[in-house]
């Protein structure tokens, strides 16, 4: 059973062997390191780039325009801000040329807190990413989705931003989340595809025969069914929401958890169906709360589902402070934590029509 980061690697392997991926590149992406999170170990088309985010994003655009299939990586989304105008450019290539060009590239950049990453390894990027029209934005919360979203991103003819949550990279698959063809045993898989410590110059991965599996971009997943309250979330907050749901279940609060998976286009039908059922909704993410993507969803919920609501739609998000402090208390105070989610579910559930 693959971890989330192994699932990314398996998808990239399938991408380069079967779906035309030509370049997997970025800082420390190629050998010997194979990515600071091991995400690109052993891949045939992985190469190291200069330490230059503008060059990484720009070169990916150029490769895409020349009909190649690049997967570029910015090592941490915290370092993607100096390339945001190039992202705007990529998102506008099809539109500005009235459909003369498309720009088929994947930009992967790990997001979020939870690894004690301090000020510049803890940022979220949802807010910035969803303000870039012309991009598709995805964020997996488990290995199977990580695999299926990456394969869909690779084959999409548009720029796709792939935002893996750093804190979940070692997350293991749950029941029914096995990648088709992967070994059942985690240790077997690790021996096959994880690079050894020390000298790797002679090491070659032994790839399992994994099959194709696509998560269509723009489709959410019901991670837990429930009838009392809905949590709409994605990425690192999915397991937090599921834990909170288990905690309040004993109190008779039956929580439905929607894992959005795609931030744009997003699955409004899935949100709508759940809110119409539970009549109470919490939008949950770890990005800073002012002009937060969840605010858009709150607005749309208020406008379109007002008469279905028993309680004001809630947003639980990160504090609007310049960074995430290193000390435990500072990080806990900055991004939503389990007790806060539990308290919000209780508060929402109290509301009656």
């Amino acid at each position: 059973m693959a971890t989330l980061v192994q699932a990314i690697r398996l998808a990239l392997h399938v991408g380069e062997e079967r779906h035309g991926v030509t370049d997997i590149f970025g800082e420390d992406v190629g050998p010997p390191l194979g990515g600071v999170f091991t995400q690109s170990q052993g891949l045939r088309t992985a190469w190291n780039s200069p330490l230059d985010e503008r060059g990484i994003v720009g070169t990916a655009i150029g490769l895409a325009l020349a009909g190649q299939r690049p997967v570029a990586e910015v090592q941490f989304c915290d370092y993607a801000f100096n390339a945001i105008d190039l992202m705007k450019l990529a998102g506008g290539i099809c539109w500005s040329s009235a459909g003369d060009y498309n720009c088929p590239m994947v930009l992967m950049t790990p997001v979020g807190s939870g690894i004690r990453g301090s000020l510049y390894h803890s940022h979220s990027f949802d807010g910035q990413a969803t303000r870039l029209p012309g991009w598709k934005i995805v964020m997996p919360s488990n290995p199977l989705d990580a695999y299926g979203l990456m394969l869909s991103a690779i084959l999409d003819p548009n720029p796709v931003m792939y935002l893996p949550p750093k804190a979940l990279l070692r997350a293991k698959a749950g029941p029914g989340e096995q990648i088709p063809g992967e070994p059942d045993d985690a240790r077997t898989l690790s021996k096959m595809i994880d690079a050894p410590l020390g000298d790797r110059s002679k090491w070659r991965p032994e790839w399992p025969e994994v099959g194709d599996f696509f998560v269509p971009l723009g489709t959410a997943r019901v991670a837990r069914t429930g009838s009392t309250v809905t949590v709409v979330t994605y990425g690192r907050m999915v397991p937090v929401a599921l834990q909170a749901a288990e905690q309040v279940a004993a109190e008779g609060i039956d929580t439905e958890v929607i894992d959005l998976r795609s931030l744009h286009p997003y699955d409004w039908e899935a949100i709508k169906a759940s809110v119409k059922k539970t009549n109470r909704v919490l939008f949950l993410n770890e990005d800073t709360e002012i002009t937060n993507f969840g605010e858009h969803l709150v607005r749309r919920t208020a406008e379109e589902l007002f008469y279905d609501l028993f309680a004001p739609p809630k947003l639980l998000a990160g504090a609007h402070v310049p960074g995430i402090g290193l000390a435990d208390n500072l990080e806990h105070g900055s991004v939503p934590q389990l007790p806060g989610v539990v308290a919000t579910l209780r508060e929402l559930a109290k509301h009656e029509p």
Partner: protein
Amino acid sequence: MTSVIPREQHEGEPTLAPELLVRIHDVMVRSRCLEERMIRMNKQGDGYFWIGGPGEEALNAPLGMLVHKGQGPQFDYLHLHYRSSATVLAMGADPVDALRQMKNTVTDPYSGGRNFCNHYSMRKWNVVPVSSPIEVQFSMAPGTALANKRAGGRGITIVQGGDAGTAEGDFPTCLVWVSRPGAELPCLMIVANNQWGISTPASEQHGEKHIADRGKAFGIRTAVIDGNDPEVCYRELKKAMDYVRTERKPFLLEAMVSRLYGHSSATGSNFITEENDCLPMFEKKLEERKILTRAQMDELRARVTQELLEASKRVREEPQPKEEDIWKHVFSERDLVHEGAQKGNGAS
């Protein structure tokens, strides 16, 4: 005045064939007439903004003529700037399409009425969309150049910008990415140095003697040329391109050019008499060498001017985009560039 390659270095070079000079002149005249028509359109209210390339024709016309034109990585990729009208006309673009973009009609093939004039996009000839932000093309160029190198043919990447934009980080990005040891890329970097950034003279902002000198630190071959002499430009561009095509390595060419109508309509777009004008300088030479007569050249200019005037009147009647058109092309349903690259490979 920035010095360029001394005149004596060009002496002894064979002069270009008269037929070639006539073709270069033809493109230069057509490009100048097109820009002057668009400036007039803007002043008459037929188009909201003008920005373009009068003063770069001697550089850009030969450039367009030397392009290995086609679709896909076997052919040249062009990352142009908004002063590149002569380049695309030399490649065979219809000047009426430029008027359509000026008038932002829905028939504008480059942007469907979305973008300013001289913002070309021609996938069929590997001209990637021109964008208004200065210098971003220099960050994109290594990508197409890598595809060129991988394709294994003669195709190269040509990226062009002005002098002021080289202060952006994208310029050194290109220098670094095209000169990685053992992974050098076939990329011709061109700086059209008009010594201005809108209203700011280069002399107040740039301490380097030549912008091209920055290439030397990366082991990149460089040249500084007189961008107002089309013969010099043709010859030096050809040399640089031949080097890039065969060696599959980068070259940085700095051409000293003029900016004849200022930055854009935002600065008045009036003729600047203090700048050297490449067109009459070239015409004097053609007359002296008895390649073309004054009457022939006057007739050409008058005829093209009239043709474009009439075309602009027709373009004025063409439909504007509709409000609901904003929703078109946010996303592409097809992977056009991939299909094009495959086709290009097959045709090579």
